[in-house]
Amino acid sequence: MAKHGYLKEFTKGIVKENPVLCLVLGTCPTLAVTTSASNAIGMGVAATAVLICSNAVISALRKVIPDKVRIPAYITIIAGFVTIVQMLVKAFAPAINDSLGIFLPLIVVNCIILGRAEMFAGKNPVLPSILDGLGMGVGFTAALLCMGIIRELLGSGSVFGVQLLPFKILIFILPPGGFFVFGMLIMLANKLNTRAGREVKTTPCDGCPMAANCSQKAEKCGEKEAAEHVD
């Protein structure tokens, strides 16, 4: 692969295939930890670290791991890295550990990480996989930061704890505000994507590792089943 190719692996995650805004993955942490900009960065960096490490290891082991136990093996590796990151954060940045709470260990089930393992790292050499992980991680962090800044600015009147607005609209840091801001950001991403002539993903989980048997299938199966019952 040429140098140009490597660069592409890195940049695609940031804009064109942004995991949060375009592939709509990892929605739970996106909504939950973006109550402040600093939380968003903490989560983004932690997930990026896990993503890079797991991508690298999985890609290195891609010929060793038997296909049958692929998913459990990936999950074990990811869970291992998540725990390591969690312990490091606890030891060296305890404040971040306190504010991210349960969402730090829950990086394990963040679809972005398993999704990249299944779709990219399991099929590609180590270096592109690391770049892919880095790009996706940066894209994830950027989207989180975007949400975090908007929600903190409107909800607490501050950004990174610095008071900027004289008023605050509390609802933005409460759960409904999270859904609303996310909806608006996706709308914006869709608009930009349509303008650029790219295909717009309309449902979440399109890039999910379980997409094969995920929501769409469940929905379709449900419909099929319902149809069968009618017959």
């Binding site: 459990p72 074990t76 291992g80 999270g178 909806g183 996706i186 989980c205 048997n213 089943e225």
Partner: protein
Amino acid sequence: MLIKSLVAVFLAAILTENYVLCKFLGICPFLGVSKKLNTAFGMSVAVTFVMVLATAVTFPIYTYVLVPAGIEYLQTVLFILIIAGLVQLVEIILKKYIPSLYKSLGIYLPLITTNCAVLGVTMLVLQKVDSTTLYDYTYLHALINAFGAGIGFMVAMVMFAGVRGRLESADIPKSLKGLPITLVSAALTALSFLGFAGVVDKLIPLS
């Protein structure tokens, strides 16, 4: 006292601590599988089932194996593997012995492994054991909590499926179509759950 605290735990898990709308866990299926009422319901039943089963297994393992051995740090790895294994096991058992149930729940089971609500329930309940001071948080409380969390998931899913049903016939601005409008309506649904704040404490005063 025991019954009272159990009811409080159950109601809190459904209303004030709703895993989807208040804690943002299990958003993927919430957005993905809530288009049709029957699939939303089927998914919720499967989630509830796995949540209770997973808590039933992980809670004693954590309390009686991991803590005494001082290896709490294996929690994440072990729990996710237990959940993944359990889901497989349930699938196989259902397929073999209760095919009718398998037919209605089977398709949802593989999706549940990566549902963060299940892992979230099994992990968050362990923190509650430490923070509950009014009464002893027992194994039974943990199970009731898991069951309540599942029912809460169901309430959110079914409610939301209803909202989305109305959206089908609504005239939506072009750029809002699809996910954006879904999220905006999720915001409104979550808003209604904010009203439950403090309701359980008032209904069932424990102190």
